[in-house]
């Protein structure tokens, strides 16, 4: 990975999950609105401290959150509050 030994390649197929499609769509929308660029996303992904612990789209989501805060689109508090609301909806009856 990145020129370092990465071990054997997993050639297995996997289904794309709904949240992964959503992550892709949100990034497309942010790009179309001029709020985020591919180069910024790449940089933000490379900057993730837990890069190697995350899956492909987990990196996208974590990096996008950092960029949204960095670019002043949302605050960390706003994101956390909204995430807590959604979590409650899922836990509800």
């Amino acid at each position: 990975m990145g020129g370092s030994p990465g071990g054997p390649i997993d050639r297995g197929q996997h289904e794309v999950e709904d949240w992964e499609r959503l992550a892709d769509a949100i990034n497309g929308a942010l790009g179309a609105k001029g709020l985020q660029s591919t180069d910024e996303l790449r940089r933000a992904i490379e900057s993730l401290e837990n890069y190697r612990d995350l899956s492909y789209y987990e990196r996208w989501v974590a990096a996008t959150e950092n960029l949204l805060v960095e670019n002043g689109v949302l605050s960390s508090d706003e994101i956390d509050e909204r995430a807590a609301e959604i979590e409650q909806l899922w836990d509800g009856p």
Partner: protein, 96 residues
């Protein structure tokens, strides 16, 4: 500085911090200019929300795999091609 197709080049062994598009495994390696791809805004600047202007020439650069990997056992004619921006290249006049 402009490079012609076929010209031998070395990738700068720069440790420039931040986002760069030059793969670490190519830094310091010698290859040849295969072709000029075009000129594009500098991704190292775009990555931090800047304009990336002026545009930088981008080349398709070829390398021999045996020049890249210590343990490479494949044929000498195995090549790797990478897109490298001009400001990452210097003329290579030595022989290998």
């Amino acid at each position: 500085m402009t490079f012609e197709a076929g010209e031998r080049v070395r990738v700068l062994p720069s440790g420039k911090p931040g986002h760069v598009r030059t793969p670490a495994y190519l830094k310091g390696k010698v290859g040849w200019v295969e072709s000029l791809i075009g000129a594009f805004p500098n991704p190292e600047e775009l990555a931090y929300g800047h304009s990336g202007l002026p545009e930088r020439p981008l080349y398709k650069v070829g390398f021999r795999q045996i020049d890249l990997w210590d343990s490479y056992t494949g044929p000498t004619e195995d090549y790797l091609y990478a897109d490298i921006y001009e400001h990452w290249l210097e003329p290579e006049r030595g022989t290998t």
